[in-house]
């Protein structure tokens, strides 16, 4: 069975707190915290999705010396219409020549890449998954979206052989009915019907988590941690209630980084994993929902 060998992450050093953002947007800093659970976010100055992704990938690859056979990069905020950042990230990592695939899926892109990597790893060997986003530029004007987003990158390494986290099952879904509810036009800025997004995410995330756990034969009550796309603290709490587990079972770092779109789940994993002291047999459940709509969940077991 495929496994996850390592995680890595990188966030740019510049911190933008709610006071600074509130002054720019003409709103109240306490209101930002109340509606989002976010206190601060990171903003990239002079860095691209490529350089962010490279930093996260280096942090991940630094923990493992295995050869990489494929690079998969999710990003919804690449600076160019084409090519996407995958080939450039691979080149800067010294991995030029091996296939590098872009997955232009915001929010759920890292979950999709991770799930697909678990299937492709038997063919390509070790697969480096990178998720890298500069959301601050995409959502910098309109108050209700500008407060939510930040920049950053995450990465993980998927192997066909044994590793710390054995992947048991994954489930992916897409529904183009949600195309207009959340999208980034070519000439920006980000457009979001937050009510519609919340409506669908609130229903689809609990359902897909349940579906993936059922597929893996794992009772929800036995999951050690849920590593979910960090969209909004209120949404994370709502999903926890819907599947009847304590909110504390959902790792959250959204207070410090905001919503970093597809990067958020892997940034969360990279921060949580080294501190977790996982025991063999413990279950980790990944989940994400986002633009498209695309959503899914993946279940892994500690070895």
């Amino acid at each position: 069975m495929p496994s996850i060998l390592a995680f890595g992450s990188y966030v740019p050093p510049r911190i933008v707190g709610n006071d600074e953002l509130a002054a720019r947007l003409g709103c109240d800093a306490a209101w930002i915290l109340q509606v989002s659970g976010i206190e601060e976010r990171r903003v990239a100055d002079g860095e691209s999705v490529v350089t962010l992704g490279v930093q996260a990938a280096r942090a991940c690859l630094g923990q493992s010396s295995v050869p990489v056979g494929l690079v998969m990069v999710s990003s919804g905020t690449g600076e160019r219409r084409f090519p996407g950042p995958a080939a450039a990230i691979a080149m800067q990592l010294g991995l030029g020549g091996i296939p590098a695939i872009d997955i232009p899926i915001a929010s759920a892109g890292s979950l999709f890449a991770l799930a697909l990597a678990s299937s492709l790893t038997s063919t390509y060997g070790n697969i480096l998954v990178v998720a890298t986003e500069k959301m601050s530029g995409a959502a910098s004007i309109e108050r209700n979206t500008a407060i939510l987003f930040g920049d950053g990158a995450g990465a993980c390494l998927v192997s066909p052989g044994p590793g710390p986290l054995q992947i048991l099952a994954s489930v992916l879904h897409s529904d183009g009915e949600g195309t207009e509810a959340l999208h980034l036009p070519l000439d920006g800025p980000l457009q979001m019907n937050g009510f519609a997004v919340i409506r669908h995410a609130s229903g689809k995330l609990p359902a897909v988590i349940t579906e993936a756990l059922l597929k893996a034969g794992i009772p929800v009550s036995t999951v050690r941690v849920f590593l979910m796309h960090q969209a909004n603290q209120n949404l994370i709490d709502r999903v926890a209630r819907a599947i009847d587990v304590p909110a504390a079972a959902f790792y959250s770092n959204i207070r410090r980084y905001g919503n970093t779109s597809s990067a958020s789940m892997l940034i969360a994993a990279a921060e949580w994993f080294p501190e977790a002291s996982l025991r063999p047999g413990e279950i980790v459940c990944f989940a994400a929902f986002g633009a498209g709509f695309h959503w899914g969940a993946l279940v892994a077991r500690a070895q």
């Binding site: 009915e177 949600g178 207009e180 509810a181 009510f195 519609a196 919340i198 409506r199 669908h200 949404l235």
Partner: protein, 85 residues
């Protein structure tokens, strides 16, 4: 019971507060509804009034007051159990 009274009762239940009375009071500014409770509330509206609220209609302006919600419910076609108008 009028449509507006039924809607007010639903708002009260969703918000765990006494039902609002003023038909033109902003339910968001008064704290009855927010981004998350609105989605629950709309689900209740769909069930009680046998209507289907499309995503494009999910805007705060449309659901901001009892009067606006009542007008929306009155003009929205009822659907049968198969989801057809």
């Amino acid at each position: 019971m009028t449509t507006t009274q039924q809607i007010a009762d639903l708002v009260g239940k969703i918000s765990n507060r006494p039902a609002p009375v003023a038909e033109d009071e902003s339910l968001f500014e008064a704290g009855y509804l927010d981004s998350f409770t609105l989605t629950d509330f709309v689900g209740q509206l769909e069930r009680v009034f046998s209507i289907k609220v499309p995503d494009a209609d999910l805007t705060p302006r449309r659901f901001d007051t009892l009067a606006r919600i009542s007008a929306y419910v009155e003009k929205t076609p009822r659907v049968n159990r198969a989801g057809q108008s």
